[in-house]
């Protein structure tokens, strides 16, 4: 009898442990993004002084040149930065993705390595080498666009990778589209114009600046309005919902059934 119960207990423990580990993992990934991305503060584009560009060059040579080349021309380890623009540098460095820790399927979000002035100087230097997308102006980042148009554009252009609720999702071979619930308006805008890593570019001809503002408005709405349908469970659809239904609710039903059939003491 005791041997049987022990076996039963063992069987019960394993899927639960798996569920808890999975859930903790999902939670860690979700909150990790928001923690890091929230640290980015939007700023507007300014003219850069020669000193700032010189500081940028210095920072570039000591932090970036080993992979991207002394003149940002790229090496076998990293792409050329000619034409990527200030927006790209600002996106990569201010989210902590750059400088990269190690090569892998995708560069991870990490604690930011530079101060705002240093990031601005780096961007100014790379921008001074050749033209590219600029850091967006504060005026286009306000969530004052058309919410419905933004939602429609998001579902058409973004939702297949980033999930209709902006919760992110898996791509091929270890790559993934990150969760957008902690991303600042500036990061979102810069990602669209520069197409970081494997994300495609959505240039101003494809999605106009006004439409980009609509998308930011929609995401800002999602970020500030909680789900009205109850607990979101990470907005990951059948994965977390199924986990809860199979382990949680089914377990409850089994427990009730056992209680119904058991004799009273």
């Amino acid at each position: 009898m005791t041997k049987f119960t022990r076996k039963l207990n063992g069987m019960r423990r394993r899927p639960m442990a798996l569920g808890i580990v999975l859930f903790a993992g999902l939670l860690a990934v979700g909150t990790g993004y928001s923690a890091v991305n929230a640290a980015v503060s939007p700023k507007s584009q300014t003219q850069h002084s020669a000193e700032e560009i010189a500081l940028g060059k210095k920072l570039f040579l000591s932090n970036c040149a080993s992979c991207h080349g002394k003149n940002a021309e790229g090496t076998a380890n990293a792409p050329s930065l000619i034409g990527v623009g200030e927006a790209s540098v600002d996106f990569q460095v201010s989210t902590g993705r750059m400088p990269g820790a190690a090569s892998g399927p995708q560069l991870e979000v990490k604690p930011v390595q530079f101060t705002e002035e240093q990031i601005s100087a780096l961007a100014a230097y790379v921008g001074s080498i050749s033209e590219g997308p600029a850091i967006p102006d504060q005026s286009i980042l306000q969530p004052s666009g058309d919410l419905n148009t933004g939602g429609e554009l998001f579902r058409t252009n973004c939702a297949m990778c980033h999930n209709a609720a902006g919760a992110g999702g898996a791509l091929t071979q270890g790559k993934y589209a990150p969760n957008l619930m902690g991303s600042s308006a500036k990061t979102i805008y810069e990602a669209m114009v520069t197409g970081p890593q494997n994300m495609p570019v959505f240039n101003d001809e494809n999605i106009t600046p006004q439409e980009k503002n609509d998308i930011i408005t929609y995401l800002s709405y999602l970020q500030t309005n909680r789900s009205v349908g109850g607990e979101e469970l990470g907005n990951l659809g059948p994965v977390t919902e199924g986990l809860l239904a199979w382990l949680g609710l089914l377990g409850l039903i089994v427990a009730i059934t056992v209680w119904l059939g058991a004799k009273s003491n």
């Binding site: 252009n157 297949m160 494997n198 001809e205 494809n206």
Partner: protein
Amino acid sequence: MSEDSKDLAKVSDTRYSEHEYELGLRVTHEDAVVDPGLEPHRVRMTDKSVKHENTAVRQVTALFVLSILGSAFALYAYFAFPIELGNMASVRSNTLFLGLGITLGLLGIGIGAVHWAKTLMPDNEVTEDRHLTRGSDEKRAAAVEIISLASQESGFSRRKLIRRTLYGALAFFPLPGLFLFGDLGPNVSEKLRHTTWKKGTKLARDPSQRAIKAADVTIGSVFHVIPEDLSPDDPEYLEKKSKAAVLLVRVDPSELIETEERKGWSYQGIVAYSKICTHVGCPVALYEQHTHHLLCPCHQSTFDLVDGCKVIFGPATRALPQLPITVDKDGYLVAQSDFLEPVGPSFWDRSVK
């Protein structure tokens, strides 16, 4: 009776032999597990001590009181958390609190009743034998008599002509149904072979329907495309859109691997492919800029965009159909024709031309 049946009668146990079975039909097992009978009756604590009995009474009463409180709370919640027009969050609190109250109301009654039955009601084990399935001989004889009398009086066995025409009528009755089945729907196969793309249809952005110039499509860009002439007022708008949806991407022309036949289908590295997965028809739109992989979110079919959108992973078995494109005199991207093969998943007569 043969010798075998006598043997069987010997091993059969007393539980069955009291009924009149034909022993030849019964399967008996000599090594059958012996019926352990009922467990010895266990006396409950509530039967042994008044203290425990009183506790159980209090518990059941408390559960029923909890139920009353739950129902009362549900009534309160109905008024305290009304659904306000335009405030979606109010729907959430309304359902949550109303539901909690009603749940308590029902669960209190249910759990209370079960607990009452288990702890306080008599728990002596009682055995009730099943009655025989077989009727008594008298009843069986009476039934046979009724049937033969009915057959005689109705003339069912005597009047052959009536009987046979009735059989015929019953056999013919379902035939019209067979033909009705054929009309359950039109043959949609022809519809599945064509989309609204035709020679000269401009490629437009989804959902704004602004036409796309070739110069707008920079390397690394992805455009979600629908035909420009698709009208949202068309009653079949969604049907047409869901078949004609196209993904437009520009890659470095040197990276494109094109067959002889398809050399003229792209424009300076701009290629257009159907967005409808050839597996079960999900929109394939997860595009990776550097690997040029197109991933289907439903079952992870992966297509290589620079190599004719051939399947490189997953359950899809056919490449995504390519839309031949070119530019018109104003620089707008236009279709050269419709897709040259049906888009989307297989259907029953897809290969029949």
